[in-house]
Amino acid sequence: MAESKPKPKIKKEAVPIPKQKPEERRRNFNEVALGYTEEQALEEANRCLQCPKPQCISGCPVEIEIPAFIKLLREGKYEEAIAKIKEKNSLPAICGRVCPQEEQCQMKCVVGKVGEPVSIGRLERFLADWERKRGFKIPEIAKPTGKRVAVIGAGPAGLTVAADLAKLGHKVVIFEALHLPGGVLVYGIPEFRLPKSIVQAEVDYIQRLGVELKLGFLVGRTYTIPELLKERGFEAVFIGTGAGLPAFMNVPGEDLGGIYSANEFLIRVNLMKSYAFPCYDTPIRIGKHVVVIGGGNVAMDSARSALRLGAEEVCIVYRRSREELPARKEEIENAEEEGIICKFLAAPLRFIGDEKGWVKQMECICMELGPPDDSGRRRPVPVKGSEFVMDVDTVIVAIGRTPNPIIQRTTEGLQVTKWGTIVADENGKTSLEGVYAGGDIVTGEATVISAMGAGKKAARAIHEYLMKK
């Protein structure tokens, strides 16, 4: 591959990523963003200034050496470029798709000060996809240490810890409670944003590193953490159990039929493949008028899935305004392009059901923004007398999740915060010896990449702990 020469002047606009057209994609589950071609990737890579003091690296939770991999990419050295990324990030095909780069590396990009920042995420994705098509090369694995580590949860944090420790020569067993590995990557994020085959390829790679995967095994119920340590021959445990129980609004009528938590809705559709009912056994019912409550990425994912399942109209109801939407900008744009309606500054008061106990209407109240609350965002305040009623037949509640309580309830001595998250230091060390934790179970709901960052740090700390032992 010949090196394409850097252009004398940097273009202000990033190379757009090809996408499925909105009118087509709104009725299928295929991936929306199609990825750069080689030419597009090279053109975009050439927009990088190769800053002597790069800012982008400090914006990356796992500190990928971004200018270095981009340099290798534009020299056509794809294999070396992906290896450079993988020094820090074991799951680039996933991060290239679902990381909020616009708030991380790309926010710090110097090019972004004069135009659009370099599309670092799209370049990462290009390299990861190139590598997957060619077939993964297994890196060198250190001599077996004879130490055994139990990883609880096969989500982003757990998979990262497992990969890193396996490469260091430790025997790793992942205990996954669901019947498929991937955690939120398979039950939460829909196919059109992250194809399941990509997650499966990453899991296969981790298994080829020597990691053992036990599915359908709920730690805390089958074996507890003390049992894994004392009776099952594990010298360290990593807890990466993620965000668990869905939060509800506690308004009247919330137990009516047709009202799903986002977790239930997405688990049915993604993990259980309800979109293929009755070929797959798990049913889902989508009405004509779907309302999604909430404004995060999970709300966007739910709304866009509902549309693809055949809803006539999907409306997102959010109690603050557009400026406060916590979802990624790109996903909001994608959703609106597909025809999803956003109703801002409104919140449900109650749900009204039909005689069979199925939701038929939702009463809302309008909100206005008051002074900022603890989160720094302006607090929504109800406007007196502004109640209104909407006809709905499906409601998806996407207002957040609280930590799953099973591990905390069955692990004596494990320190827990008042919110139910596990207390851990910056390296993931908990109050119990040999027990580490990271990801949403420690931070509360956050991103895939921050869970992976926590996994990286915990893997280092666990390695040190094991080697000193």
Partner: protein
């Protein structure tokens, strides 16, 4: 994969499976449940554990062949395997010395009740057991339950055997002072028994079997109102105070997917399932 060691029809369309699942068997306790997935396309079916043997590494469960998944499961033979079993799930029953305990079981839940009665007896309780079914042909474990109990009654909806309905319980309760009542069975039955015990002030525990998907605290479909508060069947239960459960709400939620369940079951009956390949 989990190998089926025994497939026994204990009553018409009621099957008892014994399955090799050593890790589940080692940890199971009365009152807990498992999730069974029959094959790669299967749904996650929650079933109460009916028995376990840690030494043999086996667990048993009993199910009614009513829907697509259970009909498909029932066709598996000894030596076949089910794709996935996860468990034990849910909180174990509270087993201790209460004194005199009334145990009322209906339908397939007679099977897990046997485990419950055994455990309560082992803890030193006196146990009065009632088993019930719609008609006499659907009763099972009659002799065993009788042998395990201090006092034993049978009831059927149509009166084809034993008492007709459960109203006779009022007389049983009036005779002696009970310290606890344990109820397992269809929701309507649990509701009725809870209403009967309430005026007598007997603490009544019901085992709820709401619709579940993951069964371990992720999806929230098993939410049920107990004492005005939202609880989750899988992680807060499956046992709850029968005097506080909103049974009517639960009944409605259990019927949520009835049309889909019927369609799926019909397709199975007619064509052995859907053959579209998941398109």
């Amino acid at each position: 994969m989990y190998k089926i060691l025994k497939n026994e029809e204990v009553a018409p369309k009621i099957k008892l499976f014994e399955v090799y699942a050593p890790e589940v068997a080692e940890k199971a306790k009365p009152g807990q449940f498992i999730i069974v997935i029959v094959d790669e396309k299967g749904e996650r079916v929650p079933l109460t554990i009916a028995d376990y043997d840690a030494k043999k590494g086996t667990i048993s469960f009993v199910f009614n062949e009513v829907g697509k998944s259970t009909k498909q499961l029932g066709l598996l033979k000894e030596g076949d395997s089910v794709w996935n079993i996860t468990g034990p799930l849910g909180n174990p029953s509270e087993i201790k010395l209460f004194g005199l305990v009334l145990c009322v079981a209906g339908g397939v839940m007679i099977a897990p009740m046997r485990l419950q009665v055994k455990a309560l007896r082992d803890a030193g309780n006196s146990v009065v057991t009632v088993i019930g079914a719609r008609i006499k042909d659907l009763l099972f474990y009659e002799d065993e339950m009788k042998a395990l109990s201090d006092e034993f009654y049978v009831a059927t909806d149509d009166g084809s055997k034993g008492f007709k309905g459960l109203d006779f319980l009022k007389d049983v309760l009036a005779k002696e002072k009970f310290d606890r009542c344990v109820v397992m069975g269809p929701v309507v039955m649990m509701k009725n028994v809870s209403e009967i015990t309430k005026p007598f002030g007997i603490p009544t525990v019901v085992t709820l079997t709401p619709i579940m998907v993951d069964g371990m605290g992720m999806c929230g479909v098993c939410r049920v109102t107990v004492g005005g508060k939202m609880m989750f069947g899988c992680v807060d239960g499956p046992e709850f105070d029968g005097h506080k459960v909103d049974f009517d709400g639960l009944i409605k939620r259990q019927r949520m997917f009835l049309p889909e369940e019927r369609l799926s079951s019909l397709l199975w009956e007619l064509h052995g399932g859907c053959h579209c390949g998941g398109k």
